[in-house]
């Protein structure tokens, strides 16, 4: 750790043969966070649930859009008129004479709202998790953990929760989106669905979920890492 150089050698009598450092290797941090998640499996499941739902909704909306775009791109007038009948707005596309399916403002707001609600849920759940772990955090600090260790543990846990939750959510939402499309338009919905679109939509959903999870945990993790050890020691069970 580069702070070594800033240490002014106050404790010259101690630590023979061991370099002057306070470290927590990445592998060890990962190990600790995975085990914390395992121990609090049901708890983290609940935290992840809101993320799964929000990401599923996002993926559902995006995939529905992909299905519509595929049908539009098929160039078959019957399918296109069915699209319009189903309530999709066709807007002028990037190229003159081409059309694309416009995402309605309402859809967009509902998705954004659901993501916001989910973020608030994550902040709430993680703040509770921090409170629950006051003693553990304080103990670690008494053993010499730096603020950054605590921060890293929380971010790692949230990152893993975020990835897993978003992945499950994207798959659930994506499948539902395609199924609903098939229910509305039959086989062509799947036939004209382009793989790149699906991959991009899923990728976006997972990325958004992952970032949301990290953003949600950042404040609680900061609270946890800044907690002075003595406050942690006072915490009752």
């Amino acid at each position: 750790m580069d702070q070594n150089s800033t240490h002014n050698g106050l404790f010259s009598s101690g630590a023979e043969g061991i370099s002057r450092q306070v470290v927590l290797p990445m592998r060890k941090s990962l190990d600790i966070s995975i085990r914390s998640l395992q121990v609090r499996f049901f708890r983290s499941l609940i935290t992840v649930m809101s993320l799964v739902l929000a990401v599923a909704f996002l993926a559902f909306t995006l995939l529905g859009h992909d299905v519509a775009m595929g049908l539009l791109a098929s160039g078959q007038p019957s399918l296109q008129s069915e699209l319009v009948k189903a309530g999709f707005d066709l807007a002028p596309g990037r190229y003159p004479g081409s059309y694309e399916v416009a995402a309605s403002a309402k859809d967009r707001w509902i998705v954004i709202l659901s993501l916001l609600v989910c973020a608030v849920g994550i902040v709430n759940a993680q703040l509770m998790a921090v409170t629950e772990r006051f003693r553990e955090i304080g103990t670690m600090k008494c053993l010499g953990a730096l603020d950054s260790f605590v921060l890293r543990l929380f971010l790692l846990e949230a990152g893993m929760q975020g990835l897993a939750g978003s992945f499950v959510g994207a798959i659930l939402g994506g499948i539902t989106g395609v199924l609903v499309g098939m229910l509305r338009f039959g086989g062509p919905a799947l036939m004209y669905l382009r793989f790149e679109d699906v991959a991009a939509s899923m990728g976006w959903s997972i990325l958004v979920g992952f970032i949301l999870s990290l953003v949600g945990v950042s404040y609680p993790a900061l609270v946890a890492s800044r907690m002075p050890p003595v406050v942690a020691m006072r915490a009752e069970e």
Partner: protein, 246 residues
Amino acid sequence: MSDKHNIVRVSGVTKSFELGKLTVQALKGVDLAIRSGEYLSIMGPSGSGKSTLFNMIGGLDKPTTGKVFIDEVDIAQLDAFELAWLRNRKIGYIFQTFNLIQVMTALENVTLPMTFAGVPEEDAAKKGLELLGLVGLRERHAHKPMELSGGQQQRVAIARSLANTPAIVLADEPTGNLDLTTGEEIIALLKSLSRDRGVTIISATHDYKMLNVSDRVVWIRDGRIDKIEERDQLKITLGGIGAKEY
């Protein structure tokens, strides 16, 4: 004893807490020197400022005025990194509620401070087993805290406090959550560690069993040091004090 240097020196320390609009002075000017290698007990009723003084000595809290020196270093001058380093290497903590990390095995709990100190994993495991052997729990190294009794958990905590061979071990009510016999065993263990390894042991307690093993007892009352008794003085007055308090 007097030729040994002072490992902890507390000079003119006061500490006040803000409780809403009320300012409570927990410590009203404390001077204390703790000699290297001694077994010191801080005694006092709850609310006497005992815990506050104890936290101060452990570098867990900073005084409002006055200075705390650990190994002649003013801890108020240390930054966050240096404080972490101090807690990691110089001080071992033992808590009333054991405070083992629940998700880790006994051995991992003991090796955690060594991991922070950058000790290679194999060396840490070797030393961890040695320390667990010292407290009589070598065979139970793979057990999680939940699978150990209170006394055993406290033994693991003692082993952990010794992980980086600290100069000072701070024990906050180490027997507070243990029954009489187990408490006596823990006290005997602490005493033997202090004797054999020359570790300075500072404990905050109101367990009278502690008096028998202490080299010195500091009595705190109402934010001040009431009296400091040496071991030989102590034996004479012990009955009197016990009778008075209980």
